[in-house]
């Protein structure tokens, strides 16, 4: 698969949030402000790239070689959780500014299904490089979706919404329309 088709698939036609309905929790939870939505997007992209590399390597060179590929889900969760934990500690020391800007979002995505989703989806790919690129593109797709959502929600805050739709219901309806819009790509 060419890199361009990989990009288009990850960002538009197979967008993780809006088409595959993975990672809905941060999508609805952290999309109130554009700033925090972008922070979350960057954090997710970061972890996705790292997790793609590590899990793909472990799957191809450990699990497949030993013929225990059925353990993939457990091993992936395990590795990703530990990875994020380590990453947090390293960031705290090496780059306090990046640490404080990613802040609470980093531990939030430890066991996010979007991250695990990327790890599992990567298994169909041919090489480690493609897996890493796929992780990056999926992260970009995630950031795009959460960024668009936060923009819409900031506007929604100022609009007179009927009382029964105020807050969460209108957000879900918005997400539904966005998913339909992204469905056009597929």
């Amino acid at each position: 698969m060419g890199i361009i088709s990989l990009f288009v698939a990850a960002v538009f036609t197979n967008n993780f949030i809006l088409v595959q309905t993975l990672g809905i929790c941060p999508f609805l939870g952290v999309s109130k402000k554009t700033e925090s939505a972008l922070g979350m997007g960057v954090a997710v992209t970061f972890v996705m790239v790292l997790a793609s590399a590590i899990t793909y390597a472990i799957f191809k060179w450990v699990l497949v070689t030993l013929d225990i590929a059925f353990m993939q889900t457990i091993v992936f969760i395990f590795v990703i959780a530990a990875l994020v934990q380590m990453l947090e500690m390293v960031l705290k020391k090496v780059s306090p500014s990046l640490y404080s800007s990613l802040g609470v979002y980093l531990p939030l995505i430890t066991t996010n299904c979007a991250i695990l989703g990327v790890a599992v989806a990567n298994l169909a790919l041919a090489s480690l490089l493609e897996a890493i690129l796929n992780g990056l593109f999926c992260g970009i797709g995630f950031t795009l979706a959460i960024f668009l959502m936060s923009g819409i929600r900031e506007k929604l805050d100022k609009v007179n919404v009927p009382k029964c739709f105020k807050g969460f219901p209108i957000t879900l309806i918005t997400a539904c329309f966005m998913a339909m819009a992204f469905g056009v790509f597929a």
């Binding site: 030993l66 225990i68 590795v79 530990a82 500690m89 007179n160």
Partner: protein
């Protein structure tokens, strides 16, 4: 499908368990090593200071929570007095930890300096979305009085400790629940929520600087600047400034003479 004991492939079982244990041990050791190498020294004073802060995490100081404020204190970016919520003895304690001297600001409480409510006329009927902040955008709110409480509850929404309630069209602060953080003071579009000492016995519940005649035309409970309070006070503690009485709490003895004499009952007991 029934799985019997004999069906278990012991080699696969062994490899699986072995690999899982191997990965677990490897990751555990890695995390331990990293936490040793990348250990960040945390200032021990942060915890001590946080213990002396109210832990309300109200954010009124402008920092993310009490721990953020404690960090800012240690970095010298913030002042002990920036936290309006903590008690005097705690502030002194924090100042001791930081090696500063703390002269001590007085504990304060918020009051809404408006008495109008439903007795204050409306300019127009507001039929729209939201609270005072939204109303304010439309010709400065619906009240005819330029500093009248609209009673639409921006302060109620902003208060982190549910200390404010709208009663009879005017917001009222519950002094027992008020943590004196000052968020409502900054939120109110009319700027009529004031900070007074906790020991104060009385307060002036009107903010209008208009002339008496103009006040009577819009509000039954407004201060008409008659000056009776100023003449009544034997302690020189209350004066008309810009047509509205201002209490000097350092001189006020709490005799409540002015409160009794006020014809509009603008001076109220706290």
């Amino acid at each position: 499908m029934m799985i019997c004991f004999q069906d278990i492939n012991w080699t696969t079982f062994g490899i699986t368990v072995g690999i899982m244990i191997g990965i677990a041990v490897l990751l555990g050791v890695l995390i331990m090593v990293i936490s040793r190498f990348f250990h960040v020294e945390k200032d021990a004073r942060i915890d001590e200071i946080v213990n002396n802060l109210p832990k309300a995490n109200c954010g009124a100081c402008g920092y993310p929570g009490c721990e953020g404020f404690a960090k800012a204190l240690i970095d010298g970016k913030a002042n002990v007095d920036d936290c309006k919520v903590s008690k005097k003895e705690n502030k002194t304690e924090i100042a001791n930890i930081l090696g500063q001297s703390f002269s001590g600001g007085e504990e304060t409480v918020a009051v809404v300096a408006c008495n109008g409510g439903n007795d204050c006329k409306d300019k127009y009927a507001y039929q729209g979305y939201g609270n005072c902040l939204n109303q304010e955008m439309l010709a400065g709110g619906r009240k005819a009085c330029p500093v009248g409480c609209m009673g639409a509850g921006s302060c109620v929404d902003a208060c982190p400790n549910v200390a404010i309630d709208v009663k009879g069209g005017v917001a009222v602060v519950d002094p027992d629940l008020c943590i004196s953080c000052g968020i409502c003071i900054n939120t109110c579009p009319k700027k009529i929520i004031k900070r007074i000492p906790k020991s104060a016995k009385i307060y002036v519940a009107c903010s209008t600087e208009c002339k008496g005649k103009d006040v009577i035309s819009v509000c039954k409970n407004g201060c008409i600047s008659c000056g009776i309070c100023e003449r009544t006070c034997q302690h020189d503690a209350i004066h008309l400034v810009n047509n509205v009485p201002v209490v000097d709490y350092s001189k006020c003895t709490g005799c409540k003479e002015c409160m009794v004499k006020c014809p509009k009952k603008v001076i109220k007991e706290r």
